[in-house]
Amino acid sequence: MVMEREEKVYMISALVEHKPGVLYSVSNMFRRRGFNIESISVGEAEQPDLARMTITIKGDEALVEQVFKQLKKIISVIKVSILDPKNTVSRELALIKVSTPDARVRSDVINYTEIFKGHVVDVAHESLMIEITGDTDKINAFIELMKPFGIREIARTGIAALPRGMRSVKIE
């Protein structure tokens, strides 16, 4: 039986116990099974003893199904959902430090930042730090735009995502 082999990016939301070792169990499972993580973000969820992980992976349907099942198999993972991109809000935050050797460059960078609804969060003599939020495509586009100016450093959070409306990934 030949499986679907079309590669896509999938977003997975996992509600996990908020305690030491859980991130290790999850990342170790990915390593052990040879699944690649594109991005992962983790933070406290709606209850202090829960954390939410948003994981993006690239692969075909059979792979994402295995990832889903292997995640569910981890006992400290409470609930897992594969998010449907059409009905999901996903955001990523990036901090980007750009070289601004002169006033002209500086004003160009500030203009672009405003167009992208970003913020200048730190100013130095020869650089600006910009905070930008959005989906991955928007952030990638902004980074491309900044490259010619000279990017010094980038820090990205990875994607955080939730399903729209009343759909939810939580404990019933």
Binding site: N28, A62, I78
Partner: protein, 560 residues
């Protein structure tokens, strides 16, 4: 609430789980527990290597169906358990491993005999716990036993820092366990059962593959009932051996790389395969792309992640094997007129005869297939067989028929040489009234033979039959067949005289050069209350056949 030390609470919690025996070796970081054991009713069996403690707990678990317990100190004691834990994980065997750890304040400081056993065992346990305070111990033990023995079974580890063993706390043994992320599914979905039943009724050439899951869920009688109802030949994986009595007319033996002709041919020719409690390992399927090319597969497993992992089934059923088989039987009885299957069954008969031919022995030298048949003839039906790994294991799997579940114990997934002997010790502790025989090779036996001491001193008499060919037989077979006889590092020069070795430990040793000598040695062994090693010299040129060369399909069998 009762106030007591962590060590006492551990033993009290184990008693509440009906633990009767612990296999282990003490050391610095587990001393407070050993001090508490001094006054405990729980029996402690002192092994001679921690790996053997884990294998013995595993053998105990497989023979009894109960959770086996092993214990060690921190550091090297804990890492020595790792092979045994990995072995139990691969074969879904319920064990609880308890390790000592350095005191809490020293964790992370690279203290003497400190090792990160939680980090090491995370990928080879269902879950593991490091105790943070003594008061947690009762709940952690309860949770560990619950997880190990439910769903798809497997090992759980509890790591106990030394100062949590001495710490006094108010212990609550009635606290409820709370696992938000663990809800095994036992009942099959009725719609899936219906789909499966439709396929089973329509099937012309039906085969059932039974795996270790059938034995784990005690579903063997249900399996046989279903097979008889459908008149379906039943093959087993190595782990499923014993799920159907192998003298049953519908039993066709093991499937796979060393499968029987009947099993491999019928599975490849089937139009419907009912696979129960199996995980379609590479050793069972041969070339997976060409596995059962025209068959529709119904796959029952309790672990959802096994469904679709290696084979995409036509009808997936997540359920306990027993409940799923019973549900199918019930539906079939309602609507089924027994199928006419004479052509398929006579094909089965014909292929089965080819297998029987292979047992016939010529010449004076002992031939392993004939030896296996002889062992079967002499042992009672409820005797327990364990095996090491390699040729000995495959000869036993192919030619030693097993009639009851839990009487064939072998390292299936991990393929751990040295498993059979300590597993035999564990099985004998679980079932003291039946003979326990380890089918061994010389290469495997020397990996754990030091536990002759624990079997002799602990009065746990088992029988070890060493098929002694002075080589690492299976590796040599591959080098002979696939590497042009370029034997590389397989000759075991310096193997000890096993008769003298046994005697040195206070065990009994015999050498058997012929079937007659073997018969008399085994008879003596069965009637004696001390561990016996029977050394059986065989040719180093022996091959295990049938064999499917790696990468080939199940029908590409080498027969001789």
């Amino acid at each position: 609430m009762v106030r007591m030390s962590g060590a006492k609470a551990l033993l009290e919690a184990l008693k509440r789980e009906n633990v009767e025996v612990i296999f282990g070796i003490p050391g610095g970081a587990i001393l407070p527990v050993h001090d508490a054991l001094y006054d405990s009713e729980i029996k402690y069996i002192l092994m001679r290597h921690e790996q053997c403690a884990a294998h013995a707990a595993d053998g105990y678990a497989r023979a009894s169906g109960r959770v086996g317990v092993c214990m060690s100190t921190s550091g090297p004691g804990a890492t020595n358990l790792v092979t045994g834990i990995a072995n139990a994980y691969m074969d879904s065997s319920p064990i609880v491993a308890i390790t000592g750890q350095v005191p809490r304040a020293l964790i992370g400081k690279d203290a003497f005999q400190e090792t990160d056993i939680i980090g090491i065992t995370t990928p080879i346990t269902k879950c593991n716990f490091q105790v943070k305070s003594a008061a947690e111990i009762p709940k952690i033990v309860k949770t560990a036993f619950y997880v190990a023995s439910t769903g798809r079974r497997g090992p759980v580890l509890i790591d106990l820092p030394k100062d949590t063993q001495t710490e006094e706390a108010d212990m609550n043994f009635d606290e409820r366990i709370n696992l938000r992320g663990y809800h095994p599914v036992y009942d099959p979905h009725p719609l899936q059962i219906e789909k499966a039943v439709q396929l089973l009724i329509q099937a012309e050439r039906l085969v059932i593959i039974a795996g270790g899951g059938v034995i784990a869920s005690n579903a063997c009688s249900d399996l046989v009932a279903l097979a008889e109802l459908l008149l379906a030949p039943v093959t087993t994986t190595l782990m499923g051996k014993g799920a159907i009595p192998e003298n049953h007319p519908l039993s066709i033996g093991m499937l796979g790389m060393h499968g029987t002709v009947a099993a491999n041919y019928l599975v490849q020719d089937a139009d419907v395969v009912l696979a129960v409690g199996v995980r379609f390992s590479d050793r069972s399927t041969g070339n997976i792309e060409a596995f059962c090319p025209n068959g529709k597969i119904i796959h029952i497993d309790i672990d959802p992640s096994e469904i679709g992992k290696n084979i995409k089934p036509c009808v997936p059923i997540v359920a306990d094997a027993k409940r799923a088989l019973q549900a199918m039987c019930n539906r079939l009885i309602e609507k089924f007129n027994r199928k006419e299957r004479s052509a398929w069954l006579s094909r089965m008969q014909e292929l089965k005869r080819m297998h029987e031919e292979m047992i016939k022995s010529e010449g004076d030298r002992i031939k392993p297939p004939a030896l296996m048949a002889e062992i079967r003839r002499m042992l009672p039906n409820d005797a327990i067989i364990t095996t090491e790994v390699g040729q000995n294991q495959m000869w036993a799997a192919l030619y030693l028929k097993v009639y009851k579940p839990r009487t064939f114990i072998s390292s299936g997934g991990l393929g751990t040489m040295g498993f059979g002997f300590p597993a035999a010790i564990g099985a004998k502790v679980a079932c003291p009234d039946v003979p326990v025989v380890d089918i061994a090779g010389d290469g495997s036996f020397i990996m754990t033979e030091q536990d002759l001491a624990s079997s002799v001193v602990g009065k746990i008499p088992v029988i070890v039959v060493v098929l002694n060919n002075s080589v690492l037989g299976m590796v040599a077979q591959w080098q002979r067949l696939f590497y042009g006889r370029r034997y590389s590092a397989v000759h075991l020069e310096g193997i000890p005289d096993f008769v003298k070795l046994a005697e040195a430990y206070g065990a009994q040793g015999f050498r058997a050069q012929s079937i007659e000598e073997f018969r008399s040695a085994l008879k003596t062994a069965m009637n004696s209350d001390v561990t016996t090693v029977i050394d059986v010299p065989i040719s180093s040129e022996e091959n295990v056949f049938p064999m499917v060369p790696p990468g080939n399909t199940l029908k590409d069998l080498i027969l001789s």
